[in-house]
């Protein structure tokens, strides 16, 4: 955890027959990251393209089957034990099986569609017959009526009567299209078509898509053949299905009967088909999950094999991979298992090779540390073997958060939430959701738990529980007045001289301050100092971490030329300021005998510090001293001068050292060995490597081949940044004060504005008001104080770590180790 794992670049020599099984074993182990040995070969020209295509085809089939299964709402059981990648013989079986299943399902659904089409037509016909029944009866009556009416008066009536019955067309149409259809009929016939329609109450099922459609039965009466053909054209245009409808009543009734029996038969057949399909799908669904895992694993294996290189003699495959040195035995074992499983005679073997290339960064994490490591990695992945700030972040992060969030009650809520997630970890992790906010919370469950716990501690020290204080250990203040004085005056400022028992409150802030009017003045000075103290300690800690790095990377000169001046600079100026704060706390007292150390003479630490930097001085009040102790002025002067002297060391030290070192080294030629050239035979490997020096400059030898001027510029930027940042970063830690103050005030305001509403009643109605007020108060506490304030405190803490702490030592130039692992591959695809 402190440093990333040591990595080794290894070469794998695998027999082609054993390659598949070996890679499968490695994927199960998940400890190696393969490198692409043919980056210039495009994806379609690689060796195992055909196999990848086969996998793609199988995946497509699986997707089709899955879609069908989902359409029928069959439950797909999860696999408990994910299956291993199938061996080549099983692949063929699987392929055949998939093919068969797909065809079966295809055929079944085709049949089902046909049957349904039939069924639909018959139902529609049935409806047409039933509905038109009514029209015809009505029409006949109307016809007779109109006949009798018009007989005497109009000639047209007679004509109609002579022509006998009108022709008609019956059919079914989608309901939305009816108005347009009607209008069209009107237009083509100039109003000579008589349209009757009735809506079907029950929706019909579309055979292909399975959607429900509402339809309308219509009957169009007209005169003449010409009109009939036109109407038919319109009907086809509107996708109306027309059905023959015998004009006579009895025929119609016979037909209805026939249709009904046919419908019943069809229904039976349909049910049988449905049952059969259900059975097939259910049997497929059982295997579906494990099949899809198998296929995905196969695909991943072939993709990996594509990264390999073929030996010239075509006798073995060569692969290159990064392996954590601690896992080498596992890899060996996996390889041995792989070749055993394939039954090949020649074992595959592993060969570590030297390289100049920067290995990937791999921090082994467990579920506790992963969240913290993610915080660091999102800033930048650590350079290889750099010390890892995540280790310290585990505590400093929740702690600094808690300084801002300090409240016992809110901390308790947060801790309970975190604890719930931690305890229910297993069952919650099993439930995969796509809710991003929840996933973020869940990934940071240990962070939340620790943040809650630390907030409880700081809340205890701040003596804040939902903005109220508890007096557990007895306040250190007492009231020195008698009843008369108390009655006559309305407000008092207690004088520490007569009302303080000379012993501070046992733990944290005295509860008397909670009710005091000048609480903020006191808390401000306390919290401001607190944040500076922790800021300076945190930064010094960060600077000290850089020693560890310099030491590890064998840059001893940097310790003297960079670290020591930096730390001296920081200590002499800022640690001294911290010292002044403590000294002021200890030395100045209202009870002091010496007049120079009483309340009125206490100097402001900030003004003293500014004067120290500017070499100026203030005239002290009469009877007071400007400084806190003897010789402080001269000591300060020395401190500032020494600190200033450190700046040129930081600025010129390293570049000059590099210059002289490079002169010394000039005669020596560096022998560098490169990453292995692809396609070489193993026994010749060493010769070839030596004959091909790698031109790439590696990162660990930075600066060395850069010109002096560039080093100088780098160093100047670095120095200026450091010197300025000490001031700005110290000021930046004041956000601890600001946020903690804001949090305390906000929670007090919320209590006074909302909850007090329920407490100010002198009778029992107050209880009901309290019930309502508490509800609102609780909701606001959760939403504003815990969620919003928590989020803002979290972001500020993150900034304090990324910028103020990590800038002191962290390079973060590495790249992450991404092992070839079936588990991660499957999880990623699940998320998609």
């Amino acid at each position: 955890m402190f440093r990333s794992e040591e990595m080794a670049l290894c070469q794998l020599f695998i027999q082609p027959e054993a390659a598949y099984t070996s890679v499968s074993e490695l994927g199960e182990a998940g400890t190696v990251q393969f490198r692409d040995l043919n980056p210039d070969v495009n994806a379609f020209q690689r060796k195992f393209v055909n196999e990848v295509r086969r996998c793609d085809e199988m995946e497509r089939k699986l997707r089709y089957i899955e879609a069908e299964v989902h359409k029928d709402g069959v439950h797909v059981p999860q696999v408990k034990e994910p299956p291993r990648a199938p061996n080549p013989r099983e692949i063929i079986d699987l392929e055949a099986h998939l093919e068969k299943t797909e065809n079966e399902i295809l055929e079944l659904s085709h049949n089902a569609v046909n049957l349904k089409q039939n069924y639909l037509e018959l139902t529609e016909l049935k409806h047409v017959l039933e509905k038109t029944e009514a029209f015809f009866i009505a029409q006949e009556e109307i016809g007779i009526d109109s006949l009798t009416k018009t007989l005497g008066t109009e000639e047209g009536g007679q004509q109609a009567a002579t022509r006998g019955r009108l022709g008609f067309v019956a059919g079914v149409l989608q309901r939305e299209r009816v108005p347009a259809f009607e209008r069209m009929l009107w237009r083509i016939s100039r109003g000579n078509v008589f349209l009757r329609r009735a809506e079907l109450d029950k929706p019909l099922e579309d055979p292909t898509s399975g959607n429900e459609i509402y339809k309308t039965v219509f009957v169009a009466f007209f005169q003449g053949e010409q009109l009939k053909s036109r109407i038919k054209k319109v009907c086809t245009g509107f996708h109306a299905s027309l059905y023959p409808c015998p004009p006579s009543n009895t025929e119609r009734q016979d037909m209805v009967k026939g249709v009904r029996t046919r419908l019943e038969d069809l229904n039976m057949v349909l049910n049988q088909t449905r049952d059969h399909r259900q059975r097939v799908l259910a049997s497929v669904a059982k295997e579906l999950a494990s099949w899809s895992i198998m296929v995905r694993k196969m695909k991943a294996i072939y993709h990996t094999l594509n990264l390999f290189n073929m030996d010239v003699t075509k006798k073995c495959l060569i692969g290159e991979c990064w392996v954590p040195t601690a896992d080498l035995p596992n890899v060996q074992k996996a390889l041995a298992d792989g070749s055993n499983a394939s039954g090949s005679s020649i074992p595959s073997f592993l060969n570590c090779i030297e390289t100049d290339e920067e290995p990937p960064t791999f921090n082994r994490t467990n579920r506790f540390t992963r969240g913290f490591q993610n915080l660091i990695d999102s800033y930048g992945v650590a350079s290889y073997r750099e010390c890892n700030p995540a280790l310290y972040t585990i505590i400093t992060f929740p702690f600094l958060f808690a300084v801002m969030f300090g409240d016992l009650g809110h901390g308790l809520i947060m801790a309970l939430f975190g604890a719930w997630m931690v305890i229910k970890e297993v069952s919650l992790a099993a439930k995969k959701t796509n809710n991003e906010i929840w996933n973020i919370f869940f990934a940071g469950r240990y962070i939340i738990l620790l943040m809650g716990c630390f907030s409880m501690y700081t809340g205890l020290i701040y003596n804040d529980i939902f903005s109220k204080s508890m007096n557990i250990f007895g306040s250190s203040w007492y009231v020195p007045y008698d009843n008369d004085t108390l009655e006559k005056n309305t407000a008092f400022t207690l004088d520490p001289k007569d009302s303080y028992i000379d012993k501070p409150y046992f733990i944290g802030i005295d509860p008397i301050w909670q009710t005091a009017d000048n609480k903020i003045i006191f808390l401000n000075s306390y919290k401001m100092k607190l944040s500076i103290i922790f800021g300076v300690v945190h930064m010094i800690f960060g600077v000290c971490m850089s020693v560890v790095n310099y030491n590890f990377f064998k840059r001893r000169y940097s310790i003297f030329l960079e670290f020591i001046p930096q730390v001296v600079f920081l200590c002499l100026l800022f640690l001294y300021m911290v010292f002044m704060m403590f000294y002021k706390w200890v030395a100045y007292s209202t009870m002091s005998e010496d007049q120079a150390y009483t309340q009125g003479c206490a100097p402001s630490v900030l003004i003293l510090f500014i004067n120290m930097m500017l070499f100026s001085s203030n005239e002290p009040e009469p009877g007071c001293k400007e400084f806190m102790f003897e010789n402080q002025g001269s000591i300060q002067r020395v401190f500032v001068l020494v600190a200033l002297c450190c700046i040129p060391i930081m600025l010129f030290g390293k570049p000059l050292y590099m210059l002289s070192a490079s002169k010394k080294k000039h005669s020596k030629t560096e022998s560098s060995n490169g990453s292995v050239n692809p396609g070489i035979e193993m026994q010749e490997q060493t010769d070839i490597i030596n004959s091909q020096p790698q031109p790439k400059a590696s990162a660990s030898h930075d600066h060395e081949d850069e010109p002096f001027s560039e080093i100088m510029i780098h160093q100047a930027i670095h120095t200026i940044e450091y010197v300025l940042s000490t001031i700005s970063h110290t000021a930046s830690y004041l956000r601890l004060w600001a946020l903690s103050l804001a949090h305390a005030e906000l929670s007090e305001v919320l209590w006074n504005m909302v909850l007090t509403f329920g407490l100010k009643d002198a009778n029992y109605i107050g209880a009901i008001k309290l019930y309502v007020a508490f509800c609102f108060w609780a909701l606001f506490t959760l939403a504003i104080l815990v969620m919003m304030e928590g989020l803002s405190a979290f972001l500020h803490t993150l900034r304090l770590h990324w910028v103020e702490f990590m800038s002191k030592f962290y390079a973060g130039l590495g790249y992450i180790f991404q092992p070839f692992c079936f588990k991660t591959i499957l999880e990623q695809e699940d998320e998609e």
Binding site: A762, L770, F774
Partner: protein, 100 residues
């Protein structure tokens, strides 16, 4: 019995809220009962142009404390009722989802 009127989320919300309410209001009642100074600000004291004697004032404050203590406990009791109702709802929701 199947009077299900809130969904799973609302009933869970009510459950958590009422547990919190019961704990906090009971504790607040206890603190009012032992007359904690920190809660002095939240007492129902009518401002009637100042009090006359210290004893009178103290008496009034004591009455206020005990009044608030009882109010807190009554409110806590109301939350017990809420707890029962939302617990019942929660149970109904769970049962119906299981049976489905």
């Amino acid at each position: 019995m199947a009077c299900k009127f809130c969904g799973p989320k609302l009933s869970l919300c009510g459950l958590i809220l009422s547990v919190w309410g019961i704990i906090q209001l009971t504790l607040m009642g206890v603190f009012y009962y032992i007359e904690a100074v920190a809660l002095l600000e939240d007492l129902p004291l009518e401002e009637e142009g100042g009090h006359h004697t210290i004893e009178g004032f103290i008496h009034k404050v004591e009455v206020g404390y005990s009044q608030n203590a009882y109010n807190c406990w009554i409110a806590a009791l109301l939350y017990v009722i809420t707890l029962v109702i939302s617990g019942h709802q929660f149970w109904m929701n769970n049962r119906s989802s299981v049976s489905m």
